[in-house]
């Protein structure tokens, strides 16, 4: 078997028709995003009196991270394409180890212990663990005899996703932990029943409702719906009646428990500032909460909203330049785009991500190998989640959670991990002709 692999590798490199063909459209989208991101970071930190490329500027640092990304890309190109499949579990195990280590050895930054400090650079294991989880999940789900309608499969897949998520939650980084919920798309694509997928969104809706509606009314409403459904079943459906009735009862019970627990979570488990960040969206007129948690979101909306249709122009954003929006190079980088490029800029960036996601799904679906397809869905899901939560939080549609906008936000760990995530997929895609022959 070993021999076969070696011979295959040599054939690949010697055969011109099998030359590495990256999906250049995706690569261009990537390059455009990172470059525009650097320009935006520059707009945030730019001061007329300082040098354009001062080493202390975040934009300069981001350019260095971009450079580092190229090294990583070259490494990915050089590594054998089978590595990612063969070592998926190992990478995953390494990531879990790092997540455990950071709990003990990490430095505490802004309330969460998610960073390793190495001199002037920091490293965030939670960024790389997304990639590791995507790999591991892909490998597991593509194994033979794995079907998502088996409870055992569901539990194992859940564990692969849940373990890193729980560890990250333990670090105090709620935003990054939430990213793992995006794997629902992967599971759905790989055969998770419709009802599960629907339940996921129903749970989100129910959770939002608990914020706006008093618990007791919600429970009464749920019970009434259950009663009507059961009456309907009793009167109209003859076959499997008792089973349907029991299912309805169970679903209702779970829903009620969920409502009660989300209420409990919001009021007792979440930290004060997290609760405030949620409540500021629920009661935007409550002056007390707004004073405590409304500043970010208010300033962010002002920056974006003041951009108008065409924006104020590159380096012309007053809110951007004058530090009104906190965390502006990182989580709130979209404010700069909104302010300096206006709605047109928003349109470009939303279209850009939409097209990128479409492209990724397209690429994933053209794979004959399940591993690559599942991994591709993982990449798309993670990017989608980051993009949607990040934008939603800057425009006041979602509570403020600290997760970056892929390719745009300042930060070495995040840029490198997104680069790895994307380019591993592109690499696997480039070798799609040979993937099936691996083993």
């Amino acid at each position: 078997m070993q021999k076969k692999i070696i011979s295959l590798t040599t054939t690949t490199l010697s055969n011109p028709s099998n030359r590495l063909t990256f999906d250049w459209i995706t690569v261009l989208l990537y390059l455009f995003s990172v470059t525009w991101g650097i320009l935006n970071i520059f707009a945030v930190v730019y001061q007329p009196e300082t040098a354009y490329f001062g080493l202390s500027l975040n934009s300069t640092k981001q350019m260095m991270f971009f450079g580092a990304s190229f090294i990583v890309i070259i490494a990915i190109v050089a590594i054998d394409f089978r590595f990612f499949f063969n070592f998926a579990y190992l990478v995953y195990a390494g990531a879990i180890l790092l997540l455990l280590l950071v709990l003990f050895l990490g430095s505490k930054i802004a309330g969460s212990t998610s960073w390793f400090r190495l001199g002037m650079f920091g490293f965030q294991p939670s960024e790389i663990s997304k990639f590791a989880t995507a790999l591991a999940l892909a490998k597991y789900l593509s194994s033979i005899n794995i079907r998502l309608d088996h409870w055992q499969t569901r539990l194992t897949a859940g564990a692969i996703i849940g373990i890193p998520a729980l560890l990250i939650l333990r670090q105090g980084d709620l935003g990054s932990a939430m990213v793992y919920s995006s794997f629902i798309f992967v599971l759905y694509r790989e055969g998770l029943p419709n009802s599960w997928f629907a339940s996921y969104f129903a749970a989100i809706i129910l959770f939002v409702l608990t914020l706006f509606v008093a618990e007791i009314y919600l429970i009464i409403t749920l019970l009434s719906i259950a009663l009507i459904v059961m009456l309907y079943i009793r009167l109209n459906i003859v076959r499997q009646m008792s089973r349907l009735l029991i299912t309805t009862m169970i679903v209702t019970l779970v829903a009620i428990l969920f409502v009660m627990s989300s209420d409990y979570i919001v009021n007792n488990v979440l930290k004060g500032y997290q609760r405030d960040r949620i409540m500021v969206l629920v009661n935007p007129d409550n002056a007390e909460i707004v004073l405590r948690a409304g500043w970010n979101i208010r300033q962010s909306k002002i920056a974006i909203g003041s951009g108008g249709l065409l924006g104020k122009g590159f380096l012309q954003g007053t809110q951007t330049k004058l530090n009104f929006v906190p965390e502006q190079s990182t989580d709130f980088i979209f404010c700069t785009i909104g302010e300096e490029y206006g709605w047109l800029g928003s349109l470009v960036i939303v279209s850009l991500f939409m097209y990128l996601l479409y492209r990724l799904i397209l690429i994933a679906e053209r794979q004959k190998d399940h591993f690559v397809r599942i991994y591709g869905y993982g990449v798309a899901s993670i990017l989608f989640f980051h993009f949607s939560i990040n934008i939603a939080m800057t425009i006041g549609l979602f509570p403020v959670v600290g997760i970056p906008l892929p390719f745009f936000s300042y930060g070495g760990s995040s840029l490198l991990s997104f680069t790895i995530l994307l380019f591993v997929f592109l690499k696997l895609d480039a070798y799609r002709g040979q993937m099936l022959s691996r083993t």
Partner: protein, 682 residues
């Protein structure tokens, strides 16, 4: 197997993207709110207050100056008070209690990023003490404003005072000339020349970052404007003369108005009792001082020369004589019997002609003159045959025509209406007309007997001292006048308001004035003026008056001008409860004339006795408590406009209301409301 699910997933992605674009469209394109909030965030508007114009007297002496005053401002989100000790230090520094500190901070914290007023009106002296310590407390800083001081310590009523602009005035200010906390002229020249004095606010826009640090000019300073200083004013007042006149009047109640006849410029304008204008400087003592002044029984805030209504008394006879001569119901030689049955008089040679009637102030003479004016008994030449012509009076005509004609003359003399002086609160007095008597007595129910006292300057008529002085100026000018005014030049170019350079003619021939002027000379030198009031080295012409006062001693009135040829000063002196006009007011007038024309007073004995004379104890009541005549004299003006309404009851009502009105004028300074209105109209 599940290939079709990709479409569901893509649909969810697309749905989220679409929601974002719609939401972004609504906050970026549809809503103005965020654009405005961004400006409010990043652009700090700094108001630069202009220098308020200074006020000088006609000789260039400074009357009103500016002085800095400090306001302590606070920006709550920059305040860093580490301990209660810090807070206590602040309290000590500003001399406030902890409780006051907390209330102030709580109020300021409503707008945590915007400066709020913390402590108002800290004087330069107080500020010097705390200035160095203030730097230690971030978030607190001082803002400089200027207030007024009055180095001349006189002329309070003319200069007026300034105060903080009210909410109502701010709302009416359409020209954006004020910001809250600004000072605005409330009375006197400060109010009537507010627009000239205030200058223009400057605005500077700077960029500030989230911490409030200055980040340079906004838009390279294109939209900034410089503050434009207010214009300096030069008054017509001679402050030396003013102070001299105030000194004479200091222990008396009354008014002095002196006018330069050929220009209408007011040289002195005294209202006594007066007050030190520095009492009403903006500051902590303002409220207390103002309350004391307004509660004072002597009503020091009341500006008598333009607000006190008196019947003119005998001084008015000169006006009647002039009207009679012009209307040809008199000729200079017309002699009329001093008939004590018509109206009481005092012993003098009779029958008197025009000259003597003025010289001796004959009451029945002017009863008759006024009757002739009303009934238009013109004296005409009638040829009996070729060699004999006799002078003959025409028979009585329509009294209505006569009274209307007389009213027309009053109007030309600037009587019965506001004369138009550049003060915000002048009154015009009242000259009764035909409609007024119809209302008072009912149409057809009155006759000459009801109005004859007008002939001797009594009855329902009333005028203010300024108008009285202006009569003296008209006679000095032989027939014309310029509206009396207080501001000689506005700003550097030195023009006065155009309305004060327009000659107003009375329509009475010059020759008639010669008759009256000669008589007025003899009033002084051989008439009703006491020897103390006689000037020997320049010729003064005058007319005494004694205003009957049912509430106490009569008021002493005297008008005069001097020198007789080429008059330099016309004057009216009112001494309330001073008794006979020739005994008190005339000597005072002579002293002021002497002081003005010669620069100093040589008759020190007379000066001393006039300085010491006091009549305030004679008062049973204060003159400003309106007398019945005054009720009538003010009220019907309002009723004139609404002639269709019926009157009897209304009149009674107005009687009751009038005292209120007058109080209101005194206490409220009605100009407070007027200035801005006038501004916006312009």
């Amino acid at each position: 197997m599940n290939e079709q699910r990709r479409w569901i997933i893509l649909a969810i992605f697309a749905f989220v993207g679409l929601v974002f674009l719609l939401k972004l469209f609504s906050i970026q394109v549809l809503s103005e709110e965020y654009r405005l909030a961004a400006e409010a965030n990043a652009i700090k508007k700094t108001i630069k207050h202009p220098h308020r114009g200074l006020i000088y007297d006609r000789n260039g002496k400074l009357l009103v100056a500016n002085e800095p005053i400090f306001t302590i401002m606070v920006i709550p989100n920059q305040v860093r008070l580490q301990s209660t000790q810090d807070t206590l230090t602040i309290c000590q520094l500003f001399k406030i209690t902890l409780k006051e500190f907390n209330t102030k901070m709580k109020k300021a914290k409503e707008t945590p990023r915007i400066p709020s007023v913390f402590i108002k009106q800290i004087s330069q002296l107080e500020f010097a003490k705390i200035q160095d310590r203030l730097i230690d407390f971030s978030g607190f800083y001082a803002e400089l404003k200027t207030i007024r001081t009055y180095p001349s310590v006189s002329l309070a009523h003319v200069l007026g005072y300034i105060g903080e602009i009210t909410k109502g005035q701010l709302d009416k200010d359409t020209t954006h000339s004020y910001v809250p906390g600004d000072y605005i002229g409330i009375s006197g020249i400060e109010a009537s020349y507010e627009k000239e004095l205030r200058g223009r606010l400057g605005v500077k826009y700077t960029l500030v970052d989230a911490q409030g640090n200055d980040k340079g000019a906004y838009n390279s300073g294109i939209s900034d404007t410089l503050a434009k200083a207010g214009k300096d004013l030069t008054l017509t007042i001679d402050v030396d003369l003013q102070q001299y006149a105030e000194k004479i009047m200091s222990n008396k109640r009354g008014s002095i108005v002196a006018i330069e006849p050929n220009t209408g410029e007011i040289l002195a304008m005294v209202s006594s009792p007066t007050y030190d204008p520095n009492m009403l400087i903006v500051g902590k003592s303002f409220i207390k001082n103002y309350a004391n002044l307004s509660k004072d029984d002597e009503r020091p805030l009341f500006n008598r020369p333009v607000m006190a209504l008196y019947p003119p008394g005998s001084t008015f006879k000169v006006v009647q004589a002039l009207v009679g001569l012009q209307e040809e119901v008199l000729v200079p030689e017309t002699r009329l019997l001093c008939d004590w049955n018509l109206v009481k008089c005092h012993p003098h040679g009779s029958p008197a002609n025009v000259h003597e009637s003025i010289q001796y102030s004959c009451n029945p003479y002017y009863f008759k003159v006024f009757r002739r004016i009303i009934y238009q008994n013109k004296i005409v030449k009638q040829k009996i045959n070729d060699s004999v012509t006799v002078m003959k009076e025409l028979p009585d005509g329509d009294g209505r025509i006569g009274l209307n004609k007389w009213n027309e003359y009053m109007h030309r003399f600037g009587l019965g209406e506001r004369i138009g002086v550049d003060l915000p609160n002048d009154l015009g007095g009242f000259m009764p007309n035909f409609a007024f008597y119809n209302k008072k007595h009912g149409e057809g129910n009155w006759q000459f007997n009801n109005i004859y006292s007008l002939g001797i300057g009594q009855g329902e008529m009333s005028i203010v001292p300024l108008q009285m002085a202006n009569i003296a100026a008209i006679i000095a000018n032989k027939g014309y006048f310029y509206t009396p005014h207080l501001v000689k030049s506005i700003g550097k170019d030195g023009h006065k308001r155009p309305e004060y350079t327009q000659k107003r003619e009375t329509g009475i021939d010059k020759k008639h004035f010669d008759v009256v002027i000669r008589a007025m000379r003899d009033v002084v030198y051989a008439g009703t003026v006491n020897p103390q009031g006689i000037l020997y080295d320049l010729v003064m012409c005058g007319k005494t008056g004694t205003v009957q006062n049912p509430h106490g001693e009569d008021h002493s009135v005297f008008i005069a001008f001097a020198p007789m040829d080429n008059p330099k000063i016309a004057i009216a002196v009112y001494v309330e409860n001073g008794g006979f006009g020739g005994a008190v007011s005339a000597p005072i007038a002579s002293l002021i004339i002497e002081k003005y024309i010669k620069g100093e007073v040589s008759r020190t004995g007379i000066e001393a006795s006039m300085m010491n004379a006091t009549f305030t104890r004679n008062a049973a009541r204060y003159y400003w408590q309106p007398r019945p005549e005054n009720f009538l004299s003010r009220a019907p003006r309002k009723a004139d406009k609404e002639e269709s309404k019926d009157k009897e009851g209304e009149e009674d009502e107005q009687k009751k209301e009038s005292p209120k009105n007058i109080d209101a004028i005194i206490l409220e300074d009605k100009n407070k409301e007027n200035i801005l209105e006038e501004d916006s109209k312009k």
